[in-house]
Amino acid sequence: MVRARGRGKQRKLHPRGRSVEPAALEAVREVLGVEPLRRDLLIEYLHRIQAHYHHLSRLHLTALAAEMRLPMAEIYEVASFYAHFHIDSENPSLPVLRVCTSLPCMLASADTLLGQLRGQLSGRARVLPGSCMGRCDCAPVVAIDARYIVNASPQSVRTALDDRVEEPLPSATRYVAYVADGGYQLLQSCRIGKRPLTDILNKLEASGLRGLGGAGFPTAHKWRTVASAPGPRYMVVNADEGEPGTFKDRDYLAREPHRVLEGVLLAAWAVGAEKIYIYLRDEYPELYRLLAEELPAVIEAGLAPAGGVEVRRGAGAYICGEESAMLESIEGKRGLPRHRPPYVAEQGLFGRPTLVQNVETLYWLREILEQGAERFAALGLNGASGLRAYSVSGRVREPGVKRAPAGISARQLIDEYAGGMAEGHTFRAFLPGGASGGILPERLADLPLDFGSLDEHGCFVGSGALIVLSDQDDLSAVTRNLMAFFAHESCGQCTPCRVGTEKAAELLRAPVENEALLSELAEAMTNASICGLGQAAPNPVRSLYRFFRDDLM
């Protein structure tokens, strides 16, 4: 217990609390530059300070609080919320090495790798476990500061530690090539009135396009709602795919950033958004650099006003993929999901009506509006509309992003797109929608992977992250891994999720004994959590009891 030292007799040298050290204040000012400081850029400032000093020292945080005229506690809340910030590290000179332990990497023995690296690299790196890094087709993944080592082994990580080469930019279709191929003409024709808004909205509706971040909300309907709300309005692009097993948006942005950006500008035009924010996960630094190179070309071409598009980095928080948590994060705060109502379309970023769209949804706009909405809609299978990208990982021969008809079945995806099961593995189960979409047995692998089609089995397709499990996988261990993930990523705001995920992870050590209690807890979490994280966190537990009772022991 903390006790007062010589209570009441300690001489006070300063006013109460920490004092700002002039040297620290200078250091912070130097890193942040001369621009007036903005509250909403707090996370960016923390990034910059950490990039410079390899951690966030309390001396600098004290100075930052004074400089921004914010309570120290407010700075600390934010800095401590995000996994990628390190406050007062013991050894800031050492690189931070994060080993992804989320399910696809766990299947690739990430836990063993973590243990090995901890043993071998103590004194050379700060080795930590990490959450899904969006490279699940190349598991296991290790991050060394902002570099990502895929298909990592102790050997490859050690080598990478020594040669500090920056990752090359992805081989994307750059601005010139994109324009040469007819890019941005659709946007221009909309802006000059050749494609009237009503027509665009009708086409969008006919295409059946739905939000491909996971919620599946009809896109045309969302646009109409935002457009009809009083201005000023904002647009936010959700590029924070954190759902374990999901890496499609990274693929889109890495290959065809301008197709996404044209969709962004088109949507912003459609709803009359004054400003666009692209919220990019911090795990994709190569995309951040790519966008930093490509956006100026777009602005120079007059396609977007200077300062009209801001790219914001996350800092390691799954919950910020939840749209309202993302808005909080863009405002420079902790990613705590907001209560609904009000919906973000009515009261979103900075309290204004906001259109939030996932990268992939925006990607498809040009396809739909150029090639025809009906044609796009007809590409779907089993009653679903259009194409979508499924992120396939786990026990398949060729994991990766698979552009396939929406509504395709898991079996088809595995067999026809992913090269079948991996060598020596027999198909046994699958997660249709990443960590939160529940787990289904092989016998249900012919169901269409579409919004709503898995409801009766307690599952959903969400962001289209198909994680394939085999006869060699223990479903209890899988469930524990998922629950540990949710416990780690819960924002901590509401009781059912904050305490529930932690207690559920604990109870899952003895799933047989705790079945009744876990079922009751699952019910309460689903009914009473504020956001989708807590509501969906028990899904794998329910699946475990429903489909995989053999694995309980």
């Binding site: 401590s80 406050i87 009781t495 305490v499 504020i530």
Partner: protein, 916 residues
């Protein structure tokens, strides 16, 4: 939602008014919905995080938190469906799993315990986490994270209600936890111990340290609570004294008009002085073998070296006979009395009546002379009334707020919370102060000007407003007089000319002047940084001119508000504890007024005004004043140039001191009369907002201690007056019959309503918060504009004394420290005197923080440790005057403002040397 909405609550049709949540409606309809993170108290935003108040809305996929959900027409809400029951029970079981066992609970009367019992949740099926360690580093507040349920009420308390900005909710998931500043120990954080978080905590995770034992186990809940008023500053917070076994064990805020449940560290933790072992419990008479000396000290714990105990009969006889002898020998003019702004209105009234009718003199004053006398003088001259024109809560309707010469968050902490709240809402806060007071964190404009250059700065602002034609022409034409003289006078005071004098750039002066003049509603607050100067009255004249030429008086959100210091300084002044005024500021030199009081009191009154506090001390030194009656004042600490003041007190032939403790003043007394403390008394007090409020006794006085009103009456009778008051109610009836300000505010009404603002238009109507909407109470009905010139401070720095000494107060200590230094928690937080210097000055003097230094002025020298404080401007020193062991007033300059007769506590030339 614009109008009322009908919906169904448990199948019953109910109506919600706009803004009501489902929880609000349910509560109004008598349906109790469990809640932990929600409180309906003012200022607390619903947060909906604990999920205890879940309800089922028909047709919705998931449950809704009632506290944060607005009803919609036709909505069907169930507060007890099976889904609701399951969720609610699970929430409580999850939280209970990690709570300490009830036998070791830090507090038992919590809302968490209440709801667990209500729901029948006595144990949890969930595994417990490893309990985190407590933090008991802080003298007043203990932190037990094992009981924390992360409900964020403390965060809201700290950041959104009190705006002290210490508590945060850091990390995430199961690691989510309360932190202080940068995860610092509470004692090392910026916590000001307002205790709002303790009051808000639903589990006993944040506790008054004194309410838990060493093991962290909570003491039994208090037996009773007594509604009363805080005994410290002029904010006048309403509170409950929690009493157990005739001891006050805790204090909680009440929803009074000036505090809305909020308190500060003094109000919440500074109540135990009344139980201090040094409390006087029997009358004392000076021993014949103990001669008086100005430098003499007495051990307050053992006065027997200088005093002997006496019966009340003997002590009162000796006290009264001493006065009688002088009155008969030298006349009433040789006597004087100091009343107290710490007593009730009734006591203040009785003291001035005793001095005027029993002593036969107007030599009666009190500590208002030392705080706002210049403000009152200027306000009387300018707008005909010394009281505030609007309560400080009017800032909720201001778009511009000026705070000058006030360290509000230290000296009027709860008022500061309202100012900060207004700034957060969007009002432009302008802080004008030589010191970087804590409030600057909320200020859009910070004018840290040269000490003593107030007039230069304020005149420059007036210059801008007049020259740029920004003033309110209609208001100036219809409501003021003397504008043309002011216009002519102000011409040379260009900001460019004044900038080098006041140290503020001309452009900043212009900008701030324009903001103030252009405001829809602007209010000015000031404290002793304005008043305690030789030019204190001039400073206030400038503020009055600013407000009146801009028409910023008489409407909500506007006004002139001197933040009054003592809890009853307004009331004591109103009651006539002033040498020039009978009650309600009626001049003693006005024959008609005298006649009215002579008739009421049946005694002839002198026609000449009396002496003020410092003049009385001077007269005692000169031998003109021979007998002095001091009730609850401590001039031996509070007056300037204490060596002189103490020598003067020692020279008195007869000094009677009536107090709780053997104060530094009582060292020199002939008779010491032990008096009741505020929490032992019944009576009314009037706060800075003109709110007359009812105080009630929580405990009985110890030993033979008597009520002040009784003591005064006993003295009066022995001086030949036929007083026969049965208690404070009788006194109040008499004074309210004579005082127009108390019209329609009866004792019974105050008993009923606790607080009524004066002036009050009717017995059942609320008082007028904002006054002077159509005329000022001056002879012409207009505000008088008084042009002023720059008068430099009396004693400017020179080669020998190169620095400027500023004195003042600390958050934790009240006035001369008689009460707060005897409060365990308060003295533990600030146990030691210190002189604060700018870090650069320390470096220049080759000193380190913590070093002992010698601070000297032309009047004296003290030894005191140094503190590095970047808020102090370079070239200045700040010393609080509450520490007897390093009394700042040994150093201060006794020169007076010519109008208010207030000493220049805020400026004298000083020297700092290494004292080791």
């Amino acid at each position: 939602m614009n109008g009322p909405v009908s919906f169904f609550l448990d199948d019953r049709e109910v109506t919600a008014t706009p803004g009501e949540s489902l929880w609000d409606v349910a509560r109004r309809e008598g349906t109790e919905i469990p809640h932990l993170c929600h409180t309906p108290k003012p200022g607390y935003r619903p947060d909906g995080n604990c999920r205890a108040c879940m309800v089922e809305v028909e047709g919705e996929r998931v449950l809704a938190a009632a506290c944060i959900r607005q009803p919609q027409a036709g909505m069907r809400v169930s507060t007890g469906s099976p889904r609701v029951e399951c969720a609610r029970r699970t929430v409580f079981e999850l939280l209970l799993a990690d709570q300490p066992p009830r036998t070791q609970a830090h507090r038992l009367d919590t809302s968490f315990v209440h709801w667990c019992d209500h729901l029948g949740v006595s144990e949890s099926p969930y595994p417990a986490r490893k309990p985190p360690e407590p933090d008991r580093s802080h003298p007043a507040v203990a932190w037990f994270p094992d009981a924390c349920i992360q409900c964020q009420l403390c965060v809201r308390a700290c950041r959104e209600v009190q705006h002290n900005d210490v508590i945060g909710m850091a990390y995430r998931g199961g690691n989510t936890r309360v932190i202080f500043d940068l995860d610092d120990r509470l004692a090392e954080s910026t916590c000001v111990a307002c205790g709002e978080c303790v009051q808000a905590c639903p589990t006993g995770a944040l506790m008054e340290s004194a309410r838990v034992n060493r093991m962290g186990e909570g003491l039994p809940p208090a037996e009773k609570r007594v509604p009363s008023i805080c005994p410290y500053c002029g904010v006048g917070c309403q509170l409950d004294f929690l009493v157990d076994d005739e001891r006050i064990v805790a204090v909680e805020g009440r929803d009074g008009p000036s505090n809305h449940n909020r308190l500060c560290v003094k109000g919440r933790f500074g109540f135990d002085y009344i139980h201090h072992p040094q409390r006087l419990t029997r009358p004392l008479i000076r021993r014949d073998d103990a001669p008086k000396a100005g430098s003499g000290t007495v051990d307050p714990a053992d006065p027997s070296s200088h005093f002997r105990e006496a019966s009340w009969e003997e002590a009162l006889d000796v006290a009264a006979n001493g006065f009688k002898k002088i009155r008969e020998r030298d006349g009433g003019e040789a006597l004087a009395g100091f009343g107290s702004a710490k007593g009730s209105n009734e006591e203040a009234y009785l003291v001035q009546k005793l001095v005027r009718t029993g002593f036969g003199t107007h030599n009666v004053d009190h500590c208002t002379r030392l705080c706002h006398a210049s403000s009152v003088a200027a306000l009387f001259e300018g707008i005909g009334s010394g009281a505030v024109t609007a309560p400080f809560t009017t800032c909720a309707e201001s778009d511009v707020i000026i705070v000058t010469g006030s360290n509000t968050s230290a000296n009027h902490p709860v008022a500061a919370t309202f100012l900060k709240q207004a700034a957060v809402r969007g009002a432009t806060l302008i802080v004008i102060d030589p010191r970087g007071v804590d409030l600057v964190a909320y200020a859009e404009h910070r004018l840290l000007f040269q000490p003593g250059s107030d007039v230069a700065l304020l005149n420059a602002m007036l210059h801008v407003i007049i020259e740029e034609d920004l003033y309110d022409h209609a208001f100036v034409a219809n409501r003021t007089e003397g504008f043309e003289e002011l216009r002519t006078h102000i011409q040379p005071y260009r900001p460019e000319t004044m900038a080098p004098i006041c140290g503020i750039e001309a452009e900043t002066i212009r900008r701030v002047a324009r903001i103030y003049a252009g405001a829809k509603a602007a209010v000015i607050f000031w404290g002793m940084g304005i008043s305690q100067h030789v030019h204190g009255t001039d400073n206030v004249r400038c503020l009055i001119a600013l407000a009146t030429i801009c028409g910023q008086v008489g409407r909500p959100g506007t006004g002139l508000h001197p933040l009054r210091g003592q809890n009853n300084v307004q009331g004591a002044s109103d009651a006539g504890l002033i040498p020039m005024f009978l009650p309600d500021y009626q001049s003693v030199e006005d024959a008609a007024t005298r006649a009215r009081y002579e008739q009421a009191w049946g005694v002839k009154l002198p026609a000449k005004r009396g002496l003020t506090v410092v003049e009385i001390i001077d007269a005692a030194c000169g031998g003109r004043i021979k007998g002095l009656y001091v009730m609850g004042e401590n001039p031996a600490m509070s007056d300037p140039d204490l060596n002189h003041a103490r020598a003067s007190l020692a020279r008195l032939e007869h000094l009677v001191v009536q107090d709780l403790f053997l104060t530094e003043t009582a060292f020199h007394a002939d008779v010491v009369l032990p008096a009741a403390a505020w929490p032992e008394k019944e009576g009314t007090v009037t706060n800075t907002n003109r709110q007359v409020q009812m105080g009630r006794p929580a405990v009985a006085p110890p030993g033979e201690v008597r009520q002040d009103w009784w003591i005064v009456q006993q003295l009066a009778r022995r001086l030949g007056l036929d007083w026969d008051y049965q208690g404070p109610a009788d006194v109040y009836r008499e004074m309210s019959s004579l005082m127009a300000s108390l019209k329609h505010i009866s004792w019974e009404r105050l008993q009923r309503e606790d607080s009524v603002t004066y002036p009050c238009p009717g017995p059942d109507e609320p008082g007028h918060e904002v006054v002077f909407w159509d005329r000022f109470p001056t002879a012409s009905g207009r505000a008088r504009l008084v042009p002023v010139d720059i008068i430099p401070p009396d004693e400017l720095p020179d080669e020998k004394y190169p620095m400027v000494l500023i004195t003042g107060r600390l958050l934790e200590h009240w006035h001369t420290g008689a009460m707060t230094r005897r409060s365990r928690a308060l003295d533990a937080i600030e146990p030691e005197a210190a002189v604060s210097l700018a870090p650069a000055d320390l470096a220049r003097l080759e000193l380190n923080a913590g070093d002992r230094v010698r601070v000297s002025t032309r009047r004296g020298t003290i030894q005191i440790p140094a503190r590095a404080d970047p808020r102090v401007p370079e070239g200045s020193l700040f010393i609080p005057f509450c520490y007897v062991e390093a009394a700042a007033n040994l150093l201060t300059n006794p020169v007076l403002d010519p109008y208010g007769k207030i000493p220049e506590f805020k400026f004298c030339a000083a020297q700092v040397e290494d004292g080791s």
